[in-house]
Symmetry: C2
């Protein structure tokens, strides 16, 4: 838009750059989010509060990276005069970002800041874990849709002739699926979950006794 | 190919039909597989053997439907002179089908036919469940990649102008994601799992005692 208005030749390098920035940032969200998901498995014997803060911080960074990627895509579209948000990739990608942001806010509100009761945290924790893994899967799916979209736009007919770029991008997609599979396996093994430290167990028992004492009917879970 | 060789006008109707058959069968695999995944939640109080047989039968039907879909795709490609297996959708779809077939054979060998020991079944069960849910997610992902591919092939430039077909297909994609989310939620809730019947519990305890009696070191799990 800007280039056509002032009559100068279109700035092709920054445009191409922004597409690559967008792809790298979308992938960046997935990889950084993975690190955030795995902190409870890796830092098994650290204090829970520090691990939680690191989990929130890494997810926060992943969100910033995703935002940079989304802005790059919108800018690239504006420069090339391409409409926004028409494809399934954009719908899935934007849904992932918005739900990820919501999940992050809810996670901080329930677990990082005081206020939520022990019972409320206990109810929300399995939902947070389920939606966390779901959003991780959705972010990989959005990447795969983005890869397919980009291949069909950029390679067009040559994609069906097994050109190296096509095979490379397909392999990247398969590796992303394999990566998701390994991370999903690590996250869902019951025996690899972070065991509570001795002091956390004692504290949790105290809380439970207190809560059950206040409301005998509601403390069965 | 065939049409151009005998000089007759190309049989457009069967060609178009095979594409729609392929799409419907791919979707069919996902929907039938879902029914198979949910039988343990729905038939909670039936004998385990009947539920297992139904689970295997429904997955077997899903495999047959997927095979019909794959044959339709290959036939459609042959008629139009399109190369096979070049896209990320085809790689993911074929990987899903082959792994699904392997999972089905392993499931039948371990759980349906006698031979596998109680310990071996106990070790394989969580792997079977994990890979079952993974293949369910992978089948939805393959559908989404197929929808994106088809939209970019069929609608091409008009896709970015928000034509009704594009919005309809995107909505189908989002509904598939929502469907996967609900099924995933139902399958992973600990409290909704099928409780063992009284006689199964007694039998399982007998087996455990027997196995632990035979090999005291290996019976801790």
């Amino acid at each position: 838009m800007q280039a056509s208005m002032d009559g100068a030749p279109p700035p092709t390098s920054p445009t191409g750059l922004s597409v690559y920035v967008a792809v790298s940032q979308l992938l960046g969200l997935t990889l950084l989010a993975t690190t955030a998901l795995l902190v409870y498995r890796v830092f098994r014997h650290e204090a829970k509060r520090s691990t939680k803060a690191l989990h929130a911080l890494l997810h926060g960074l992943a969100l910033v990276i995703a935002l940079v990627g989304i802005i790059a895509v919108f800018e690239s579209h504006q420069t090339k005069g391409i409409p926004d948000m028409y494809s399934l990739h954009s719908w899935c990608g934007m849904a992932t970002f918005v739900l990820y942001l919501l999940q992050w806010f809810l996670g901080c509100s329930f677990f990082l800041f005081p206020g939520a009761s022990f019972l409320l945290r206990g109810w929300y924790k399995p939902q947070h874990i389920f939606f966390g893994i779901t959003l991780f899967i959705l972010s990989i799916t959005s990447c795969l849709l983005g890869i397919t979209e980009m291949l069909l736009f950029k390679l067009s007919d040559s994609y069906s002739h097994f050109v190296p770029e096509g095979i490379l991008a397909n392999t990247l997609g398969v590796l992303l699926v394999a990566f998701g599979l390994v991370v999903g396996y690590v996250l869902t093994r019951e025996e690899w979950k972070r065991p509570p430290l001795a002091e956390e167990l004692a504290l949790s028992m105290d809380f439970k006794t207190l809560t059950e004492g206040e409301s005998p009917g509601g403390g069965s879970q």
